[in-house]
C-alpha cells in the first residue's frame, strides 16, 4: 500500500476505485471527479485498486482540494520475494472451504444468509491467509481435487492460474482493509473487488456502505486474466456440448456472481443510473428496497452557448458521437445513411470520435463508405469538441449494440439536439422518459429503434429531418427533460442527500 496523499483530515466519504480514478480516463473516473469536485462540503478519500503497476501512467486529473486521502494498491502483484516453504494449514480450514464451495453452488436461492465467517476480516487475514492459499500443500490438494471433480478436460495451467488470479485479490484487499484510515461512509462505484473491499470495511468498522453501479459488473467485466490467450477453448469439437461455456469462463462468472450477491447483501443503498439497470440488479439478487436510481447529470449551463448558436433551419446533419469500434456499430449507421441519402441527397453523416482504437474496424467502415458511394455524405471527423459540433447538427444518434447511460445524449439535449438511438442501456428512458409519470409527460425527445436495423434507423432520420414540427417538439422535450431531471446540480444534490441521510441514520 502506498499512500500518495494524506492531508490528515477526517475522511467523510471513502471511494474505492477499481482501475479508474485518478489514473485512467473514462466515464467512471469523470463521474468520481465530478462528484468530489461538486460536493466540496465533504472530504473524500480514494483507494485506488490497480491490476499491476506497469499498467498505469501518471495521475490524469487535477485533484480537488477536498480529496484528503489517496492510496494505491495492486491486485495482481505476486511478489516473489518471500516464498514461504512449509506452510501448514489446519485441516478444518479446508473442510470449511469445501463447505463454502458447496454452499456457493447451491445458494442461487437468494434468501440464504451468508455464513458469518465470510463477513469477518479475520477469516481472510488469520484463518485462511494469502500464504496458505498460495503455498500450502493443503491448498494444492484442494485445487487438484476440485479440478478432478469439475474441470478434468481443462488445461490445468489455465485452471490453476484462473483460481489463483480470481482469489488472490481477495487476500490483497482483505490485507488492505486493516491499513485503511477511519471514514464515515464507504462508497464503491462498482461491485467486483472494490465492492468486496467496501463490504468488508463496512462489516468490520460498522459503517454504511453505498454501492453505485455504472454498468453491471458481473455482466460486463471481461475476463481480466493476465494472459489473454488462456481463454482459448482447447477442447476438441466432440468434447463440447452445444452452447456450453468452457469451465474456466463458468468459474469466473460464478465467482463474480457470488461476490456480487455478497456485496448486494452488505450494501446499505444500491444505486443504478437508470431503471433497466435497477431491474437487472434485482434479478441478480439485490434487495428491491435498497435499490434506487440516481441518473448522471450534465452541466446544462455549459451548453447554453451552443444552444444559442443554433441556426433557424434544421441542419441536414446526423452526428454519431462515439469511438469507431464494433460495439458502437458504426456500420449500421453507414448503411442507414445510404438509405437516407437516396431520399435526401444532400444529407451528411458525421462520425465524431477517435478512429485509432480499432484500426481494422475503421478500415472496414471506410471500405463500406466507398462501396456505398457515400464519400460526399459520410465523414469521419476524428475527435472534436462536442460544443462546436452540436449547433451544426440536426440529429444526434447512437447505434450501439450496448450502452450504459450515455451522457452524450443528455449533452445533446442540453444543446437542443434531438436523438435517435438504439434500444440499449438507458436510451429508451432518456428519449421517451421513464423516471416517473412527470418524465413521461414531457414527451419524446427523438426516437428509439431496434439494434442493427438500418431501415428503421433511416426511417427515423428521414422522419425527423423532414417533419419540422415533429423535430421542434422533440427538441422542446429534450431541453425540458434534461433541465428537469438530468442537471449536474440535481445529481450532486441527490448524492448530498444520500450521504447526509446515511450519516444521521448510522449515527442516530
Amino acid at each position: 500500500m502506498s499512500v500518495i496523499i494524506d492531508k490528515e483530515k477526517k475522511i467523510d466519504i471513502l471511494l474505492i476505485a477499481e482501475g479508474t480514478y485518478p489514473y485512467i480516463r473514462g466515464g467512471v473516473s469523470t463521474w468520481i471527479h465530478d462528484l468530489i469536485n461538486g460536493l466540496s462540503d465533504f472530504n473524500f478519500g480514494v483507494i485506488f485498486l490497480g491490476s499491476r503497476p506497469e499498467d498505469y501512467g501518471d495521475i490524469k486529473y487535477k485533484l480537488p482540494d477536498n480529496l484528503v486521502y489517496l492510496s494505491v494498491d495492486y491486485l495482481f502483484e505476486f511478489k516473489e520475494s518471500v516464498i514461504s516453504e512449509g506452510i501448514k494449514a489446519k485441516k478444518e480450514i479446508f473442510s470449511y472451504i469445501e463447505f463454502l464451495h458447496k454452499w456457493f453452488k447451491e445458494f442461487h436461492n437468494t434468501e440464504l444468509e451468508f455464513p458469518d465467517k465470510l463477513k469477518s476480516l479475520s477469516f481472510y487475514t488469520e484463518e485462511i491467509t494469502k500464504e496458505i492459499f498460495l503455498y500450502s500443500k493443503e491448498s494444492w490438494d484442494f485445487i487438484i481435487n476440485m479440478y478432478a471433480n469439475y474441470a478434468v478436460e481443462t488445461p490445468f495451467v489455465d485452471y490453476f492460474w484462473t483460481i489463483r488470479n480470481i482469489h488472490a485479490p481477495i487476500f490483497v484487499v482483505s490485507g488492505l482493509a486493516k491499513k485503511i484510515p477511519n471514514f464515515e461512509i464507504v462508497h464503491s462505484p462498482s461491485t467486483g473487488y472494490a465492492g468486496f473491499l467496501a463490504s468488508l470495511l463496512s462489516y468490520d468498522r460498522k459503517k454504511p456502505f453505498i454501492l453505485t453501479e455504472h454498468g453491471i459488473y458481473t455482466r460486463e467485466r471481461k475476463i481480466d486474466l493476465l494472459n489473454t490467450d488462456w481463454l482459448v477453448d482447447k477442447r476438441l469439437f466432440f468434447q463440447k456440448d452445444i452452447g456450453e461455456l468452457d469451465h474456466i469462463r463458468n468459474l469466473w462468472i460464478r465467482f463474480f456472481e457470488s461476490i456480487g450477491k455478497f456485496i448486494y447483501k452488505a450494501s446499505s443503498v444500491i444505486i443504478s443510473l437508470f431503471s433497466t439497470a435497477r431491474e437487472i440488479q434485482i434479478l441478480y439478487g439485490a434487495d428491491p428496497d435498497k435499490c434506487i436510481v440516481i441518473p448522471n447529470g450534465v452541466d446544462v449551463e455549459g451548453y447554453s452557448k451552443p444552444l444559442r448558436q443554433r441556426p433557424e433551419y434544421i441542419p441536414k446533419v446526423i452526428t454519431l458521437l462515439g469511438r469507431v469500434v464494433p460495439i458502437k456499430d458504426i456500420k449500421t449507421f453507414i448503411k442507414a445513411m445510404r438509405i437516407v441519402s437516396n431520399k435526401i441527397p444532400d444529407v451528411e453523416g458525421w462520425i465524431v470520435g477517435p478512429t485509432d482504437e480499432d484500426p481494422d474496424y475503421y478500415n472496414e467502415c471506410l471500405n463500406l463508405v466507398e462501396t456505398f458511394k457515400l464519400k460526399n455524405n459520410v465523414k469521419f471527423l476524428g475527435f472534436q469538441n462536442p460544443k462546436d459540433i452540436f449547433p451544426k447538427t440536426g440529429i444526434l444518434t447512437l447505434t450501439s449494440i450496448s450502452e450504459g447511460m450515455p451522457l452524450v445524449v443528455l449533452e445533446g439535449f442540453a444543446a437542443g439536439v434531438p436523438c435517435v438511438a438504439t434500444d440499449v442501456g438507458s436510451c429508451r428512458q432518456l428519449i421517451y422518459g421513464g423516471l416517473n409519470e412527470e418524465d413521461i409527460k414531457i414527451g419524446k425527445a427523438g426516437k428509439v429503434v431496434p439494434i442493427a436495423n438500418p431501415e428503421k434507423l433511416a426511417e427515423a432520420y428521414i422522419k425527423l429531418l423532414e417533419d419540422e414540427n415533429l423535430w421542434k417538439s422533440c427538441q422542446e422535450a429534450a431541453i425540458k427533460r434534461v433541465n428537469t431531471f438530468y442537471t449536474k446540480s440535481q445529481f450532486l444534490n441527490n448524492y448530498r442527500k444520500i450521504y447526509t441521510d446515511m450519516r444521521s441514520k448510522w449515527q442516530g
Partner: protein, 456 residues
C-alpha cells in the same frame, strides 16, 4: 546440446553393438575428455621426461605444484562457477544475448585478478628462495587456471563439448612438446612450458566464446545485481570443490602421511597416486551419466515442463511427471550399473595396470578403496546435476556442505585410526552425502507438481 544429442542419436539409430560402442566412446570423449587429458598428461609427463633429468624430484615437484594449482584454482573459482553459469543461462533465456560475453569476461577477469593477487602474495611469502622467475611463473599459471575454469564451465553449459576437448588436447600436447625442449631449465622450464600450453588452451576457449557471442561492451559486472545473483549457488560451488579436495589436504598436511616437496607444498605419495588412478577409473561412468542426462533425462524434463506450460490436462501432466522421475532415477541407476561393471574390470586388471605404469603394487589395497570412493563421488555428482536441473539450489548447497564437512572430519578420523583405514573417510563421507542428497531429491520429486505450480 541439440547438436550433440542429435549426433549421438544418429549413431545409436544404427542399433548395432558397434554403434553403442561408438556412442559410448564419443560420449566418453566429450564428457570425461578434458579431465582425462589433463590427468593422463601429467602422469605421462613423468615417464616422458624422466630420461632427460638428473634428479627426478624436479618432475615430482612440478606435478605436485600443478596439482595444488588445480585444487586451489577450482576452490577459488568454485564461488563463481555455478553462479555465472546460471546467470548466463538466465540471460540467454531472456534473449539478452549481448550481456553474455561481457559478464563472462567480467567474472573471469575478477577471478583472475583475485587469483593473481593471492598467488603472488603466497609466492612472495613462501617461495623467496625459488627466485622471482619461479614466483612469476607460479602466479601466472594460477591466474590462467582461474580464468580457464570459468570459461570452461560456461562453455560446457553452452554445450560446446567438442571444441573444449579439442582445445584441451592441443593445449596439453603443446605442453608436452615444449616440456621436452625446456626440461633442461629445470622446474622453471617445466612451469613455463605448462604455462604456454595452458595459455593456448585458455585463449582458444576465450576466442571461441568471443567469436560466437556479439556484444557492444567488453566487461560488465551485472552478475552482482542482487536480483540476479543466487547466493546459494555461490556457496554450492564453493562447498562442493572444498569437499572434493579436503580429504587430499588432510593427507597432505598430516606430517606422517606426507613429505615436503617445496616450501609449504607437501604431497602424500601413499594417497595421491592411487587417488589419481581412481579418478581415471570413473571415466566410463562419467560417459554414461553424460549420455543419460543429456539425452534421455533432458528430453523427459522438457516434455514435462512443456506440458505444464502449454496447457495439458492434469492426468497428462502426472503421466509425464512420472516418466521424468523415472528417467531421473535411471540416470543415477545406469551410472551406478555401468560404473559398477567398470569397477569390477579395474579390480581384475589392477595389477596389470599398475605394472604398466610402473607403480608399486603396494598401492593396490588403497587403490581399491579410493576407486569405490570416486565411484560414490560420481553418483553424488549425478544427483547434484539432477538437483541443479530442477533448480533445487538450497538442497544442492546443503548436500555439498555436508560433503565438505564430513569429508574433512572423517578423513581426520582415519588418519588417527591408522593406515588400514585410509580412504574410508572419503567413502563414508560420500555415503552420507549421497543419502542426504537422495532424500532431498526424493522429497522434492514427491511433490514435483505441487512445487512446479505453487512456487513459481
Amino acid at each position: 546440446m541439440a547438436g550433440i544429442s542429435f549426433e549421438l542419436r544418429k549413431v545409436l539409430r544404427e542399433r548395432t553393438l558397434g554403434s553403442i560402442a561408438k556412442a559410448f566412446g564419443y560420449s566418453t570423449f566429450l564428457s570425461a575428455g578434458p579431465y582425462l587429458i589433463s590427468i593422463t598428461t601429467l602422469i605421462l609427463s613423468y615417464y616422458l621426461l624422466s630420461p632427460f633429468v638428473s634428479d627426478k624430484r624436479v618432475i615430482i615437484q612440478f606435478q605436485v605444484i600443478i596439482t595444488y594449482l588445480v585444487a586451489f584454482s577450482l576452490i577459488l573459482t568454485g564461488f563463481s562457477q555455478l553462479m555465472i553459469t546460471r546467470f548466463i543461462a538466465d540471460r540467454i533465456f531472456e534473449k539478452k544475448y549481448n550481456l553474455v560475453l561481457p559478464n563472462l569476461l567480467g567474472n573471469m577477469i575478477l577471478n583472475m585478478a583475485i587469483g593473481f593477487i593471492i598467488s603472488l602474495l603466497f609466492g612472495l611469502i613462501f617461495f623467496k628462495e625459488q627466485g622471482s622467475l619461479f614466483i612469476i611463473l607460479y602466479s601466472f599459471n594460477y591466474t590462467i587456471f582461474c580464468g580457464l575454469w570459468i570459461v570452461n564451465v560456461v562453455l560446457s553449459s553452452l554445450k560446446s563439448y567438442k571444441f573444449i576437448v579439442l582445445s584441451f588436447a592441443l593445449g596439453y600436447l603443446t605442453f608436452l612438446v615444449l616440456s621436452l625442449l625446456f626440461v633442461k631449465f629445470g622446474l622453471n622450464g617445466l612451469l613455463l612450458s605448462f604455462f604456454l600450453g595452458q595459455s593456448l588452451l585458455f585463449y582458444m576457449l576465450i576466442g571461441y566464446m568471443i567469436k560466437n557471442h556479439d556484444s557492444d561492451s567488453i566487461l560488465r559486472f551485472d552478475f552482482f545485481d542482487k536480483d540476479k545473483i543466487y547466493i546459494s549457488l555461490i556457496f554450492s560451488g564453493f562447498f562442493y570443490n572444498i569437499g572434493v579436495w579436503v580429504d587430499k589436504f588432510v593427507f597432505w598436511f598430516t606430517p606422517f602421511t606426507s613429505v615436503e616437496i617445496l616450501g609449504p607444498i607437501r604431497s602424500s605419495l601413499v594417497y595421491d597416486i592411487p587417488m589419481f588412478l581412481a579418478y581415471i577409473s570413473i571415466a566410463p561412468g562419467m560417459a554414461i551419466f553424460f549420455l543419460k542426462l543429456e539425452m534421455e533425462f533432458a528430453e523427459y524434463y522438457d516434455r514435462y515442463y512443456k506440458a505444464v506450460r502449454e496447457g495439458a490436462t492434469l492426468p497428462k501432466i502426472y503421466e509425464y511427471g512420472d516418466e521424468m522421475i523415472l528417467s531421473a532415477r535411471n540416470v543415477v541407476l545406469d551410472t551406478m550399473r555401468i560404473q559398477g561393471i567398470a569397477f569390477v574390470i579395474f579390480l581384475l586388471f589392477d595389477e596389470f595396470l599398475l605394472k604398466l605404469f610402473n607403480i608399486s603394487l603396494l598401492y593396490i589395497p588403497l587403490l581399491h578403496i579410493l576407486m569405490l570412493g570416486t565411484y560414490l563421488q560420481l553418483i553424488f555428482m549425478s544427483i547434484l546435476a539432477i538437483l541443479n536441473y530442477f533448480d533445487r539450489r538450497i538442497e544442492a548447497m546443503v548436500s555439498s556442505l555436508i560433503f565438505a564437512i564430513t569429508n574433512f572430519i572423517f578423513s581426520l578420523i582415519t588418519i588417527y585410526l591408522g593406515p588400514y583405514y585410509y580412504g574410508y573417510g572419503f567413502i563414508f563421507s560420500l555415503l552420507v552425502s549421497n543419502v542426504v542428497a537422495i532424500i532431498l531429491l526424493r522429497r522434492f520429486l514427491d511433490e514435483v507438481h505441487y512445487r512446479t505450480f505453487m512456487f513459481v
